[in-house]
Symmetry: C2
Subunit: 248 residues, 2 copies
């Protein structure tokens, strides 16, 4: 019997956004591993072992998943959103890098609806033109690099989807982000704060930069910073597809 490992995206929260592909591998799995609240989304059943683990244990979890697959298990590592966007796929490849014997395993990444797509859809289409996707957490990179990327995106007038804007252990990063925005953007630049989109706790607000405050974001919030052309239409926010004659 040969095992396999799927690194699967559960989407942002709603079961209606879980792809049939992911649903199917979960139905075949012998083992499901992931961060506690994501594993809690998988229904227990006979023949399936759930392995919830704490946050910040990504490499241990990846190693355990690969070992189970190597031993013949049908293993699914679950991420919320998409597993390839600031989630578990990278951790699995990092572990595989040090274990050539595991590189021939049947490993697949199954995409999911990442938070920025769900948040953008709820808001309208703020990511309808060129955009950047930044992880604002400085747990794994220096703040100076985050700021450099933020300024590069703003300088080229791209919209920006910001993951992990703020947490209890990193209360200041998003305040810095807002300072950079205030230095470089007009006060009516639009920001979307999308919290827990597609869950019962969903909360979405769109405000101009002048009214944005750091405490509008927490670790479940995805923040979208519009480009200079992003605007409101009725209750929606969108970024037009056309840019006419505007360029440095």
């Amino acid at each position: 019997m040969s095992g396999w490992l799927c690194i699967a995206g559960l989407g942002p929260g709603s079961e209606a956004l879980v792809t049939p592909e992911v649903r199917d591998v979960l139905a075949e799995a012998t083992d499901v591993l992931g961060y506690i609240p994501y594993v809690a989304r998988v229904a227990p059943r006979s023949g399936l072992t759930l392995h919830p683990s704490d946050n910040r244990q990504e490499l241990d979890r990846a190693r355990a998943a690969l070992a189970l697959a190597a031993a013949g298990g049908r293993v699914v590592v679950v991420s919320s959103g998409d597993p390839g966007v600031f989630a578990m796929a990278c951790a699995v490849f990092e572990v595989m890098e040090g274990r050539p014997d595991w590189q021939a395993l049947d490993v697949r990444v199954l995409p999911g609806i990442t938070a920025m797509l769900a948040a953008a859809a709820r808001a309208g289409a703020p990511l309808g033109h060129d955009f950047c996707t930044l992880n604002l957490s400085d747990n794994l990179k220096p703040w100076a690099l985050i700021e450099k990327r933020l300024r590069a995106a703003l300088g080229a007038d791209m919209a920006i989807a910001c993951y992990n804007p703020r947490s209890a252990s990193r209360p200041h990063g998003f305040e810095h982000t807002l300072q950079v925005l205030r230095e470089t953007c007009e006060p009516d630049r639009l920001l979307v704060f999308a919290r827990a989109v597609t869950t019962p706790n969903e909360h979405l607000v769109c405000v101009p930069l002048a009214e944005a405050r750091a405490d509008m974001a927490d670790m479940r919030t995805l923040v979208i910073v519009g480009s200079s052309t992003t605007r409101r239409v009725g209750r929606f926010v969108y970024t037009p597809r056309s840019v006419v004659g505007e360029c440095a």
Copy 2:
């Protein structure tokens, strides 16, 4: 009877990547509008009128869809991938902007698996760290702006997902893109050419910049340019989550 309009993403091609949410609204629709090959993915049935239309008719299609919903229809505009990423959602909001009477309609955007997520998943996790998403078509914006954004992304060492790299009517843009990459990146910078991912015509190659040629891309290809840290592990390509001490 009050009509509604959903702008729905069908994902990159495989039916296993269509979300249940999209499947459900298609089952309730009276009218489905979209580009010919996307409407062809919707099964005909009694009570459903299919309205396929040609490429480059986005605004006419959006207007027709809104008019049908205003008249009480249950209308779905289908895009491939995600409707908010270089697709139909923006066209609908552009039309709504000029028609305040349509702004109170029941309009929803339903996210889908956009091409870059499907391509990245097949390749490994090349978008696992900060990245930019650029539309390389200069149909609706000047090439100078595309180049400015490309250079900004490269200067801040972000990976780049390139949509619409090359078409019969725009044969030169992607050659320019490769020239910019050759000026600014090392020759072993990794590029992923992902064509028609999750369809029977899927073709995926990963090459170093030194071996990349413009004719490796066409209008069905999504190109991912890795960052300086993107590397291979076994048959996969990924961008590590950590950046240690590297910053200008």
